[in-house]
Amino acid sequence: MTKRFALGIFDDEDVLLHAVENVREAGVKIYEVFTPFPIHGIDDALGIERSRLPIAAFFFGLTGLSFALWMQIYMLGFDWPMIIGGKPHIALPAFIPVSFELTVLFCCHGMVITFYTISKLYPRWKTPVLDVRSTDDKFVMAIEVNESTDMTKLTQLLRDNGASEVNQKEMSKF
């Protein structure tokens, strides 16, 4: 399905930030904002909820820790107990390094894989973008429009809020 977007192009992140607030206040729904770098405060302005990735990371880490402890206690304590250096079979202090490393390993990889999955980021042959300058030096506010949208009014709203250009673009599969 093809979608039509009105693109407000901004030259400065502070201008964009105010524009986001004002446009939302004017009752216009912002489809997405594309920026070349993270802008502080835009989450609040756009109403993006705080990511729950840290919670996921914690549980991935906990999984790693449990797995590491189970693995070491099972292998050296039960499956094939051996006396090594006169230490007990389950020598917990000696298990700390491997437990720590596996906690970190599971936490990092679990979180990063979750991040790429929920963000739908994966290698693609082609990446269509609304405006190629949005990864360079322009800040792009995309607003989904249809036939009934009053483009003159929307353009004026974006212009009034500091957009240097207002373009339209159609995108299929976006």
């Binding site: 990371a57 990864t135 500091g162």
Partner: protein
Amino acid sequence: MQHVSPVREPLVTGGKTYHDVTQDVCRQVEAAPNIRWMAALSVALLLLGVFFYSVYRTLWYGIGEWGLNKTVGWAWDITNFVWWVGIGHAGTLISAVLLLFRQKWRTSINRAAEAMTIFAVICAAMFPVLHMGRPWLAFWVFPFQNTFGSLWVNFNSPLLWDVFAISTYFSVSLVFWYTGLVPDFATIRDRAKGPIAKVAYSLLSFGWKGSAKHWSRYETVSLILAGVSTPLVLSVHTIVSMDFATSVVPGWHTTIFPPYFVAGAIFSGFAMVLTLMLITRVVFKLEDYITIEHIALMNKIMMITGSIVGVAYITEFFIAWYSQVEFEQYAFINRATGPYWWAYWSMMTCNVITPQLVWIRRVRYSIPLTFVLSIIVNIGMWFERFVIIVTSLHRDYLPSSWVMFSPSIIDIGIYVGTIGLFFTLFLLFAKFFPVINMAEVKSVLKYTVDNGPTYTGQDPHHHTPQPATTHGVPASASVNYDKHD
């Protein structure tokens, strides 16, 4: 009104705009390889050839090709392993620890330093794997049920801890580095002209579009990766030091090793970062991004960690005397006055005296002197590992087995070869990947500017509306960056 901070020095000089950053960093990715890069790559490939030849000899004829003997069973291999791992640590320190401390100057150097980490760990891993003699059975170091029954690996062994530490460190650093690269690959993709470049960078960029939601998650992920990498990097060299410290060899069996090794790792790592950055900034004309201030700051870190290492050397000596253990005392007297005195005093000169020159402002801000210093520190840190390993081993409890160690040509070949491997990887990285994190540098361009609104709209709440742009350039980025003094 915009307000230029009177106390903050600009992190990027030359009054760059966002577009200038993109241009300056993408230039070398998009241009045809220049002659200096080709020449450097040829030398690196030649050394890589030496590496492959030495590895072939080691694998075909066995470990006997090395200079090891019955008494000194660990020498250049483990020296080089610890040296390379240590070098790698500066990358994580810059990207993780300095991120947590909000040291924004790190943005210009973190990408290349993290690349250095990954390549250094690859070089380091070569040594234990080759020393196994049968590297095709290297997977036996993992808890893997062997064919004779369920005999497992020994989780009490520091060498096994090393396996887990190094592999976790490598994979986590790789993921951290790659996640940082994704937005910059997207920038290159959106500028790419050729069909191959378009597809290649589209694949590499994972379809990144820079949406606000993705950036929000990206920042969360970066922060947690940094938070977790910080104890990780400390744990890695701690565990490396435990390869020695948990043994009962005089000269190794000391509790000071973990902090002493970690400080030494950061020290040598920053020296290598300086060596690489001083070359990179000139070859790729990035002097405005990797400024003289960056060099001075890195010099300061080198001086502090070098001083910690110096204190550790003296503490070791004191404790050897204070412990009243005669074998421990002999190990240290033998280091300083025995047949390897030249190695010991090279180490002391390079690592304790040299970094103290950085107290002098003229040295700290001098590019040629910094370059020489960084090379001297790298040599000194190699000697440190050599001294710790070989001088502790070569005279054991039984005087009849006292020997000297001399490296074979294959030992030297593998060491020089890993330098070739490292530079081959680094040069390829520098040509095809953005050497500076563009997104992060763009986010600190306004570092000296108080967040004054450059807002043009008709919002009545706002005072003094002023034009946001002058000729399409963000006003804030064209602010006069002249020094205040």
